[in-house]
Each structure stands twice: as C-alpha cells, then as structure tokens.
C-alpha cells in the first residue's frame, strides 16, 4: 500500500514492521479526522444562525468527557506499546552481525571502511568514499560515527536512519532482501554541503561483493 503513498520500495528485513505501523497510524488518523470533520461540518451547517434561532444553553457533559478522554488515551497508549518491540529490535538488539563496517560522516561524504583481508579494521582495512557495497541477505553491522559535525545516515529504502555523532560510536544494523542500488542521503544539516551529500548502497550477491572488495584492496596498493 505504501508505494501508492510515495514511499520508496522497501528492501529491509525490518522495513515491513515499520511500514505496518505507519499504515496502522494512517488509518487511525484518517478515520478520526473524517469523524471529526463530519461532525464539525454538520454542526457548522445545521447550527448556523438563521432569524429566530436560539442556541441551547449547554455547559458540558462530564460523562462524555470521561468517555472520549479514555478512548483517546487507550488508542494512543496501545500504539506506544505496539511500537516498543520493533524499536528495541532495531535500535538495541537485532540479530548477530555477519558483515562488518565502520562508517564515518565527514563534511560532506560518507567514509565507508571495510575490514582488510585479515578481517580486521587494521592497517589493511580499506576506506572508500560514498560507496557502500553489501552482500544480499546478510546482517550488516555498522559502527557509525562522525569526524566533525552531526550527520545522519539515512537509507530510505531500508527505512533506516541514525544520526552520526562526533565523539560517539553508534551501532547500526540492517539486512537487505533485494539487490540493487539505493541512496544514502545525509539527513542532518551539516553545513553548506549538506544538500547533495549522499552515498550509494549497492546490494549484490556474495560473489560480486567479494570481487568488488578484492578490487578495492588492489587499488589500495
């Protein structure tokens, strides 16, 4: 449904949970809006002034107040409780990682660091600007930071966003279900180059990913 609402196609394993919550809230708000507007317009038409009309002296209705207060509170609190686990899974827990990256925002690029052939983020690690290649269907884990100001790592097709803060390392994970290339715009004002700051996420087979990575090691020599 959300692609009819201008959302980019979702390729993330946790994307459907987010999209489901969006749709739930969408229908709740649309229905509430419609009911409120129907009531408002009906009253505005039905009770408009005409000669000889008098308003009815009504001061309130305490029982009605309790009813609509309770109903509103129940719906909103239920929404919060329904969202808790998705949030915790994405930002706190998540599955164990299979491929590892270090990403740093730096005016005005994403510096993506891949572990070296030895699997370590040591002297043999390679850093590429703005090009993030990941193997499909594997859990990607990123240590995210910034080298200057706050940036924000936003992958619309993953429904993923995490601010990159200097002085902090923040853990981010995702798992891509479909191949292709996707945008990684910066989503936090970071200076005059904020507009246009974007990386490219390439999701490919394990074989293609290893081949690309080998080329990066070679270029580094």
């Amino acid at each position: 449904m959300l692609e009819h609402l201008w959302f980019p196609h979702d390729i993330s394993t946790f994307g459907p949970q987010i999209d489901w919550l969006f749709i739930l809230i969408f229908w709740i708000t649309v229905i509430v809006w419609a009911l409120v507007m129907i009531a408002m317009v009906t009253f505005m038409v039905r009770y408009r002034h005409r000669p000889g009309r008098k308003a009815e002296y009504i001061e309130g209705n305490p029982r009605l107040e309790v009813v609509w207060t309770t109903a509103t509170a129940v719906i909103l609190i239920a929404l919060a409780l329904m969202s808790k686990s998705t949030w915790a899974e994405i930002k706190e827990h998540g599955p164990p990682g299979q491929v590892f990256y270090q990403v740093a925002g730096k005016q005005f690029n994403w510096e993506i660091t891949y572990p070296g052939p030895d699997g370590k983020f040591g002297p043999k690690a390679v850093t590429v600007e703005n090009e993030m290649h990941v193997p499909i269907n594997q859990v990607v884990r990123i240590e995210l930071t910034s080298k200057d100001v706050i940036h924000s790592f936003f992958v619309p097709s993953m429904r993923l966003k995490q601010d990159a803060v200097p002085g902090r390392t923040i853990h981010v994970w995702f798992q891509a279900r479909e191949p292709g290339t996707y945008a990684i715009p910066c989503a936090e004002l970071c200076g005059f180059g904020h507009s246009g700051m974007q990386g490219t996420l390439t999701v490919e087979s394990e074989a293609d990913f290893q081949k690309w990575l080998k080329d990066q090691y070679a270029n580094q020599q």
Partner: protein, 584 residues
Amino acid sequence: MSSTAAVAVHGAHGEQHELGFWRTYIFSEDHKMIGRQFLFVALFMMSIGGLMAMLMRLDLAWPDTQFSFLSILPQSLQNDSAITANTYNAEFTMHATIMIFFVIMPILVGCFGNFLIPLMIGARDMAFPKLNMLSFWVSAGAGVLMMASFWVPGGPAAAGWTSYAPLSAVPLYTGVDWGQNLWCMSLIVLGVGSLMGSINYITTIINMRTKGMTFFRMPLVIWSLFITAILLLLALPVLTTALALLLFDRMGGTHFFLPPGGGEPLLWQHLFWFFGHPEVYIMILPGMGIASELIATFSRKPIFGYRAMAYAMASIAFLSWVVWGHHMFQSGMDPALGTGFMLTTMVIGVPSAIKTFNWLGTLYKGDIHYTAAMLNGLSFVAMFVIGGLSGIFMACTPVDMYIHDTYFIVAHIHYVLFGGSLFAVFGAITYWFPKMFGRMMNEKLGKVHFWITFVAFNCTFFPMHILGMGGHMRRIYNPTQYDFLKPLEPINMFISISAFVLGAAQFLLLANMIWSYFRGEKAVENPWHANTLEWSAPSPPRHGNWPGALPVVYRGPYEYSSPESAEDYLPQWQAAEAATAAAD
C-alpha cells in the same frame, strides 16, 4: 496596586495628554500601547520572516537559477542573483528564528498578553508598568541584534533555528562567524525581555483580578496566557544557559559541546529541547485560548466543559516538560529513553484531543455567526486537528526513524504553527481590533483574506506530508541532486506556487488593518455582544481602562443564551437585577 491608588496616580481622564508624544507613543507604560507596539514590530518582522520563506520556495521550485530581482538583497541572501547552498541555509535558519521568536511569541504573548490581561481581569494596568515598558524595549533591542546579523561578514546564522552543535559551535564548520554570535546574543536578550513579561503577567493575574473575578470565572484566553507565562518563566532560563554555553564554545575556547575537548554534542540537544518543547506549547496555548473566546462568542453558547478546558491546558503545560526527547529519537540517545518519551508523547495528545472535542461541543446546538474572526477561529481547530494527528506518526519511534528530518515534520510544524497559531492571530486581530483601535475591520475584506489564506495554506503545506513520505529530507537547497527525489519535483513546484499566493494574500490583511485604522467604521463599546470585561471599557480604552470605578464580576465569561436573560448574552459585569429586569 489597589484600584483607588491607581486612579489617584493615573487620573480618571486626560492624564494621557500631559505625558506628551514620547511618553504616550514611544516610551509608554500603558499596557495597551505596549501591546500595540509589540504588534506593529512583530508584523514588520513577519514580512522579513515571510520573505525568507518566499526565497526558500523560489529556490526549491527553480534550484540554481539566477533571478535578476534578487540582486537588491544583501550578500548574505543571494550570490550573483541566485540562491546558493549557503544563502539557503541562512534563509531557513532566519525564517524559523524570526517567525518563532519575533512574530508568534511577540504577537500572542507580547501583544495580546499585554493588551488583554488587565482589561479582561478588571485591572487598570499591569502590576509593573515600568517593567512592562522595559520588556518591550529589551525585546526590540534583541530584534536589532538579530537584524544586524544579515549584514555582517559571513552572513546571519545558518545552522538551523535548532542550532545543533558542533555545527553551530565552530565558525569553520558553517563559514558563519559574527552572524551566529549575534543570533545567540539576540536570543539571550530576548529571553530577558520575555522573563520580564512573564513576571508581570503572573503577578498581575494572581493579584489584580477585580471583585468577583475568581480563577474559574477568568476567560480561557487569560488562563492560556497565565499558563504560558509560567512555562516561559521556567523554560527560558534553560535556553539562555544553552546559548551562553554555545557562545563560550564559539568565543571563549571552552568545549561544552565539542568532543575533541571532552564535550558532548548531545548536551546541546537536551538543553535546547528541554526549552524547545515547552516553547512550542507556549506558541499554541494562547491560540487555544483565543479559539475558545471566538468559538463561544460566535456560537452564542457557553464553552463546552469550561473547567475541563482549563485543566486540559494545565495538563498540556505540565506534560510538556517530559516529552522533549521525542525530538531526539534518532540522535544517538539511549533507545530505552526513546521508548519512555514515546509514551509521554502519546499521553500529551490526550488533553489536546479533549480540547478539540470540547470546541465541537461548543458548536453543537449553537447559533453560529460566520464573522471573519469566527472563520479564523474555526480554521484554528480544523488545522490544529491535522497538525496534531500528524504528530502521532512521529511520536511512534520506529516510524519516526523514517520521517525524522523529512518534510513530514515540516508539514506538522506548519499545520500547528500556521494552521493553528497564525490563524488564531488573524482571528484575534480581527476580533479585538475594535477595542485596540476604536474601529471595525472590514468584514468582507477579512473574509476574502481568510478564504485565500485557507486554500493557499492547505495547498502549500498538505503536499509536504507527501514529500516526507517519499523520503524528502529537510534543509536541502537542491532536491534534484537526488535521483530518488526527482519524481517529487512537480510537488515542490506546486507547493512553491501556492506559497507565493499565500504570501501575497497577507497583504490583504495588512491593507485591511491600515485602511480600517484610518477609515474603519467607528466601534461601539461591545460590537460583538460579548460577555468578557474588556467589552465594558470604551473602544479604545483611555489610560486607566474604565472612566469610573472598576467593573465587578457577577458570573462566568460564557453565559451566552442563558435562561437568565432575554438577550443571547449576559456580560460578566452586568448585575443580576438588571438581567432579570431585561428578561421580564
């Protein structure tokens, strides 16, 4: 001060003439004149803030395009007749800063707070008239500092009105030097002016209500201003502190927010938003109060659930202190905190919903008169509903992960601040113009202004929800730099054209105000047949507000269509005997 003492000092009539031009119009201690001063300066600032918005929309429709007319603007706003990334960043920063601090707050709190509080509670003036005058001039000084920043090398602040560190803390990161320093200084000074106002309003409301005016006979707009003044008192010092720390980092070599020196960028966000969230309720609560006055008066019906309305505003104010983290869900703050803030944010939606239902209840079985003021008041309710509902999406932390820092947020902000607060301002200006200036505004022109504004407003801001759903980020000067945003460009164009119409329509309001000031139909004391105390004073009131004794209050403010009166209104100041005599 007691009423007799006030009369002795100010005199019943004519004392005003002896004060001369400067002390009557420029350095006035009269709350009504100070209220008008805030209004005029704020309307001027609205044109500057509006200009910023028009420049932004020009850029978003036609990025990287030269327009020869831009050359008349200072260097800080255009480069070689085009809007650049740098000037765009300055434009959205100053748009928000000016609209929030120099338009909405001065009009709602500085103008209407000042003008209405003594008149509606039955006092001759504020508790501290000299402090009142000082609060205006301090605020005006803050305005001068802010405007000066357009002309310094490096231009004005360009780190967003939210001014996140380290971007805002290190001149090298933005290329802005004195502009950002002046921004901090201006807002520190403005905070001082606001504090003076808060002290005055709180003291006046607690101590100077006339005989019979109990707290629960106060009009809801006074409740809203009272609660707002308390929020300002408690929240502003936090902003002032944050701004001082930022200035020290920028100019004093400290590292409060700078990691290389052991500082913490998130500290800025916590401080700013601890102020920032109560701040947005400061901007909406007086609007809610105004809406209640307009809807009750023009439905000729009591406000539905008066006490619930007052308690709801107090609940909103109380809860506003524990929701600030919802601005920081994606900031790197502990996600568990995010869950807590999600819950409190959902809960704060409840009292706002109650108020909406009560406004609808007020319309129910009313006798509704569609004056220009009423149309603006009704629009407040309808637009605030949309703004409030969109807030539910962002309150949900996982959904916020996607829509944070997109135009979905921009849509929400503008539905509550323009759709809410600004329509309330338009309604308040129209409604109280007769009391302020002794003349009626032109009804027909008022309705034309309303309808064009209403349609253009929705055409401008509703599509922004769509942009947000498409992932369109905020604060980018050229969306065409992103392939995934290119399909949304037609929407940006539509929004820009609508925004130009919206901006142009505001000249109708300005024209109405100017024309009516000189040529409007002379106003009687109570042109709206309303119940609240200000309508028992002359239009406009002289110094001391009532020529004789202060009014006495016999009942609540919303006794419309009361069985105790033959008329469809029963003013607060009218004694019971007169009412029953009229009913016979």
